[in-house]
């Protein structure tokens, strides 16, 4: 079996590979230099690549995003870190109004090949302002590619594609996965953007998952074997491009869909997946479309409360069971 590595180390590995390959790649963010990042996802990069490639910034999220954008427009491939994804709110103008629109509104004169990396998601007791899954914010904005890997190998392979992309990419690293382990990425590993992965094949119910809900879905699928329910787990990997072909293809066999997403139900990306299925896949369906999502409340601090409002294996198992017997 291949070497195991953590998702956390895969982030710095993925960054290091691109920094080595392409001198136009440059990193910036808060505490990412000598400190190695507050999540230890840039450890060793400052040492290997030096202060000219790895830049510490002030606490100025707008200045970070603007600097990355200006540099991307003029020949660099900057990778900006926004420490917690909740803080995207402090520079949302850049993701909502500037970066994704520059090419379009200049009639194609300008490219913005940059990546925004950010630690996303809950489950660690960080409370209402440090635990959100905000990929649904980015999903509202045409012009952004959106990546959210679930395994260490995908972190590396998707990071390569993200950095090499001539389009702006928002790269969500899930805080709850940093300590998780998986096979290390082979050399030159590249995973194209927009290709979902069938994480577990199955025949009865299709479960569409992303990032931290992928291991959750796999655990649920394992449990459901006992019920005699065969679950196909699809890891979307990206929200844009969105691989609906894989989802609809799976439904041709299963006819039953559960989407499991960590962000709140209202305005969640799972709703878009569900609405496409309810339109284009209507004739495939033998049962209602279900969504297991975050509850529509802010995230509470206490573990016992947080557990109540984010998706869990138990909740998904329950939802699949009910749907299978519909």
């Amino acid at each position: 079996m291949a070497d195991l590595t953590t998702y956390r180390d895969a982030v710095s590995d993925g960054l290091a590979r691109e920094l080595r390959r392409d001198p136009s790649v440059v990193l910036l963010g808060e505490d990412i230099g000598a400190a190695g990042g507050v999540f230890k996802t840039t450890v060793g990069l400052f040492e290997e690549f030096g202060a000219d490639r790895v830049w510490d910034t002030p606490i100025s999220e707008q200045a970070i995003m603007g600097a990355a954008m200006g540099a991307a427009m003029t020949g660099m491939r900057p990778v900006a870190e926004i420490m917690f994804s909740d803080f995207l709110a402090c520079c949302w103008d850049y993701l909502a109004n500037e970066i994704p629109k520059a090419r379009y509104m200049t009639g194609g004169q300008v490219s913005v090949p940059m990546v925004v990396r950010t630690a996303n998601g809950g489950g660690l007791g960080f409370g209402a302002q440090h635990s959100q899954s905000v990929e649904n914010w980015a999903f509202t904005v045409p012009g952004l590619k959106i990546v959210a890997p679930s395994t260490p190998a995908d972190v590396v392979g998707l990071m390569a594609s993200a950095i090499r992309s001539d389009d702006p990419v928002v790269f969500f690293e899930h805080k709850g996965l940093f300590a998780s382990k998986g096979e290390a990425a082979p050399p030159e590993h590249v995973v194209p953007l927009g290709e979902a992965r069938v994480a577990r094949p199955g025949d009865d119910v299709t479960v569409v998952a992303l990032a931290a809900t992928v291991p959750l879905a796999l655990a649920a699928a394992e449990q459901l074997v006992e019920d005699g329910i065969s679950v196909e787990v699809i890891d979307l990997r990206c929200l844009v491009p969105l691989d609906m072909a894989t989802v609809l293809g799976s439904l041709e066999r299963t006819s039953r869909l559960v989407v499991v997403e960590e962000n709140p139900y209202q305005g969640g990306w799972g709703a878009t997946v569900a609405s496409i299925v309810a339109d284009e896949g209507f004739e495939l369906l033998d049962a209602p479309v279900r969504r297991v999502a975050g509850e529509n409340v802010p995230l509470p601090f206490a573990d016992a409360l947080e557990e109540r409002v984010i998706p869990t294996t138990g909740k998904l198992v329950e939802a699949v069971r009910r749907l299978a017997s519909y």
């Binding site: 808060e30 505490d31 230099g33 000598a34 400190a35 507050v38 510490d56 910034t57 002030p58 606490i59 100025s60 999220e61 707008q62 200045a63 909740d86 803080f87 709110a89 402090c90 660690l124 007791g125 960080f126 409370g127 209402a128 302002q129 440090h130 209202q266 509850e295 529509n296 409340v297 802010p298 509470p300 601090f301 206490a302 573990d303 016992a304 409360l305 947080e306 557990e307 109540r308 409002v309």
Partner: protein, 335 residues
């Protein structure tokens, strides 16, 4: 121009003893939080303010009970200085139903609205404009309340800081902006990412208000500088930036061993511990050691009792996850 504030006044001995006791309660509570974390009883993240006590106690002493305070994720000291009980704070950290926020906020969001402690906010800089709002409201309602925002050195480079200072000056709001400059953001020295030596005070002139530097480990000096700023605000003369120089005793948050700080620097600042400075001053004033020991012992008792009570308190109620979204107490978002 940035001014330097001294500490000229001599406060009453009883006052300084009281401040020492408050600082000791805060220090003890921070230590208890640390110990409870080591024992696995405090989860999530915590940002201890040990070392910053003189700022909270000195500044709060210059406020009226109905004034407003807004703090950061490093806000245990302000919560306690404004009257939150150590028990309520520790219970919050331990996810007990008796926590000041019923375990829904956690360490980063300690709040006691009934004491004018209007919350701790974990997005750097976001609460400075809120303090403006509270001061504006006081003006509109015709009270003479003052609003205070406490924030770190790192917050001075974020846009909200600048917007807040400008609006406060233009509207001549009764706000005091208190920067706790502990020389570091998370792990990065503030000097390495800031264009001026005094990140808060040196920006005051750019928004037409006084910028004052004060020794943040000297509770008497903090009180005095704060009293001046508060008087100015209450008199309708507008906002002040007060930059208090200090140092944190622990790392940034519970996972940080703070190895990035030079040993000599740490030593120098530990020698200037605000409790040591207060004790030294009491000794200089001829206050008997026994009196000092008495207040410190009482503080230790307070903390010990608080820690016990918090540990004995019932866990948070999971059903509370579905309350307090709306004013009606519930969370219904659709029919």
């Amino acid at each position: 121009m940035t001014q330097e504030a001294g500490s000229a006044t001599r406060v009453a001995t009883a006052t300084l003893l009281d401040w020492l006791e408050q600082m000791a309660v805060i220090r003890g509570t921070e230590k208890a939080a640390h110990d409870l974390f080591m024992r696995g009883l405090v989860k999530g993240t915590t940002h201890l303010a040990a070392g910053h006590e003189a700022i909270a106690v000195g500044a709060s002493a210059a406020l009226r009970p109905d004034d407003y305070v807004f703090a950061t994720y490093r806000g245990h000291h302000h919560a306690i200085a404004r009257g939150a009980s150590p028990e309520g704070c520790l219970a919050e950290l331990m996810q007990r139903s008796t926590g000041v926020c019923r375990a829904k906020g956690g360490s980063m969001h300690l709040t006691r609205a009934d004491h004018g402690m209007l919350g701790s906010y974990a997005i750097v800089g976001a609460h400075l404009p809120m303090a403006n709002g509270a001061a504006w409201s006081a003006r509109l309602r015709g009270t003479s309340q003052v609003a205070v925002a406490f924030f770190g050195d790192g917050a001075t480079n974020i846009g909200a800081f600048h917007e807040a200072l400008n609006l406060a000056a233009v509207w001549k709001l009764a706000v005091v902006f208190v920067c706790e400059n502990n020389r570091y953001m998370e792990y990065t020295p503030i000097a390495s990412v800031t264009s001026v030596p005094n990140p808060a005070a040196d920006r005051a002139a750019a928004n037409g208000m006084p910028g004052v530097l004060v020794d943040g480990n000297d509770v008497v000096a903090v009180h005095e500088a704060m009293a001046t700023a508060v008087d100015r605000a209450r008199a309708g003369d507008g906002p002040t930036v007060l930059e208090a120089l200090t140092y944190r005793h622990f790392g940034h948050s519970r996972t940080d061993p703070a190895t990035y700080r030079p040993a000599a620097e740490v030593e120098e600042w530990l020698a200037r511990d605000p409790l040591i400075l207060a004790r030294r001053r009491l000794a200089e004033w001829g206050v008997p050691q026994a009196d000092v020991d008495a207040v410190e012992a009482r503080a230790a008792d307070t903390v010990a009792a608080a820690s016990r009570a918090a540990q004995d308190a019932p866990p948070a109620d999971p059903e509370d996850a579905f309350t307090d979204v709306w004013a009606d107490g519930g969370w219904a978002w659709r029919t």
